[in-house]
Amino acid sequence: MSAAGRISYREACRQAIRQALLDDPRAFLMGEDVARYGGCYAVSKGLLAEFGPARIVDTPLAENGFVGAGIGAALGGLRPIVEVMTCNFSLLALDQIMNNAATIPHMSGGQFAVPLVIRMATGAGRQLAAQHSHSLEGWYAHIPGLKVLAPATVEDARFMLPAAMADPNPVLLFEHIELYAAEDEIRAGLERVDIEQARVRRAGRDLTLATYGGSLPRCLAAAEALAAEGIEAEVVDLRVLRPLDHRTVAASVARTRRCVIVDEGWRSGSLSAELAARLAEDCFYELDAPVRRVCGREVPMPYPAHLEQAALPGADRILAAARGLFARS
């Protein structure tokens, strides 16, 4: 099944869904415009023709209804993959996600699991303004009972879904809209990836850049620029936002003694705040400088390109934060 070679992130998502449907006859994809239209980010294009309307199910506009139906279907023995067009619209389904999917296993004393995957697009960069551009994965990462994943690489886009399908819990997958067109090589023979651990994407000894999702390419680019200045940055991809693997970050920080957290979400009460707090708890005596954060600016995402870019944690802001950590030494 794993054809090695260079593919796009979008294609990787499609192959992952296709494999899930081939592997398990109980699996089906459901969401707005996933079938005839082919998905609003063209992820599910062609799947209707291959699997038919019982496996690739178009739903009307009813986020709370069809996400809830996905939860019920999982309780009833199916293995739904529910697509929500963007995480902004998932707020209409928040009741079902939080009050049912996340709570029923615990409230029922372990009598029920909710083996469900919800995929949604996240992030900004396309000038879609404030109701289509927000990064809400940090909010979901707040909720016990959910697993929250952020595939940032083509490989993760290809292999996180099978791992999520095998998981007995409700798993939320956040696909950054800016990543769909990215292309990369898939290692031959790779069958699956874990959904437990953060991953070091670039080794370095001077500084840790901790990030995830759409900010990973920005951090890798920043690391290259820093290398030209003689600063070797280690880039850690969080990948799994809940349960958060802060130990991998802490281990990195123990080596580099400095950390900048880069998160497209808002700063106040955010995932970056959580990670910074954990580093303060775990690594205080190993740090040579305060932990810094580069986050989305605290505004509803504006429409004009220059303002949108200014609101995002761009390379310039990452570089400035990183350099700032060396200013006193």
Partner: protein, 336 residues
């Protein structure tokens, strides 16, 4: 009383016993609440017993049930053991959910009882999904979803009606129209207070019955379940009923008069059935007494079981937040 049912004595006595179990169970819960053994919200079902008992009588073990926070009646009528239910309300490990759910969140995997939902309308989309799974994995199974008329003003009701209709889901929607959502009268909350008439807009079959009459409820529910089971898609059954008591234990009932409550009490489903059975020589005074004794014994045993129960060790607090497998009693699903 509607005909069509096979109304033998044993069946009628069973309906009566079912209602009495609920009535007595909840009366005991009030005492336990006053003694502070039961805490939190407690929503009682007095007056509405005929709905749960009538609808459950029309269901089979393979069917699924989704309920609200006012679900002791549904749970008992569905066969959730009284002792496990009471232990749950006392927060004991021996409870149906290890004491984690309490009064408002009763679940029972073995009986396909999927809550116990304290979000008004929250069970409806879930029920649609269960029906979808059944349509594929367990043809012939029906999901019955209970909700109050208050839930009908939530979007979840309308989204579910529409989904269930376009997908022709095997879903029985049971609206317990008891005229008030907490203090909000149905006539003020609903542009169309006749709930079953909303079904037309979704091309869903519907009926309205006297919820104070378990025989009529059962008869209508059997018809509705038959329609649903034979593949005609969802059915909305509106049961016109009334709760005699407060919404929960904190409610001065300033929104309705004593006279109104008294008038409805005259239609008490237990008393009505009792009178009818007596008048028609379906039961003797001794048999009534025997049923009452039996229920009291069950209740006493349940209470002893619940009180002897243990509290879950705090070390177990984080168990079942994330599951490491899908439990056995949950349908694993065979390939469709």
């Amino acid at each position: 009383m509607t005909a069509k049912l096979h109304l033998d004595r044993a069946h009628l006595q069973g309906l009566y016993r079912g209602m009495l179990r609920i009535r007595r169970f909840e009366a005991r819960c009030v005492e336990l609440y006053q003694a502070q053994a039961i805490r939190g919200f407690l929503h009682l079902y007095d007056g509405e017993e005929g709905v749960a008992v009538g609808v459950m009588a029309a269901l089979q073990p393979q069917d699924a049930v989704v309920a609200t926070y006012r679900e002791h009646g549904q749970a008992l009528a569905r066969g959730v053991p009284m002792d496990r239910l009471l232990a749950e309300m006392l927060g004991k490990v021996e409870g149906s959910c290890r004491g984690r759910g309490g009064s408002m969140h009763i679940f029972d995997g073995a009986r396909r009882f999927y809550g116990g939902n304290a979000i008004v309308g929250g069970g409806l989309p879930l029920a649609a999904g269960l029906a979808l799974a059944d349509a594929r994995l367990r043809p012939g199974a029906v999901t019955a979803c209970f909700f109050g008329e208050g839930a009908v003003t939530e979007g979840a009701f309308h989204e579910t009606m529409n989904l269930a209709s376009i997908w022709r889901l095997p879903l029985l929607l049971v609206c317990e129209n008891n005229l008030y959502a907490m203090g909000m009268p149905v006539a003020e909350a609903e542009a169309q207070p006749s709930i079953h008439r909303k079904a037309e807009a979704y091309r869903v079959a519907a009926a309205s019955v006297d919820g104070m009459d378990p025989v009529e409820v059962e008869s209508a529910a059997r018809h509705a379940v038959e329609c649903v089971r034979s593949g005609h898609g969802p059915f909305l059954l509106e049961c016109r009923t009334y709760r005699f008591r407060a919404h929960s234990m904190f409610d001065a009932q300033s929104y309705r008069s004593r006279e109104e409550i008294a008038q409805w009490r005259e239609r008490d489903p237990l008393e009505r059935l009792r009178r009818w059975m007596q008048d028609n020589h379906q039961i003797t005074a001794d048999q009534f007494q025997a049923i009452a004794d039996e229920v009291e014994q069950e209740l006493a045993a349940a209470l002893a079981f619940a009180e002897a129960g243990t509290l879950e060790p705090v070390e177990e607090l984080e168990r079942f937040v994330l599951m490491d497998h899908v439990p056995q009693e949950q349908p694993q699903g065979n390939a469709p």
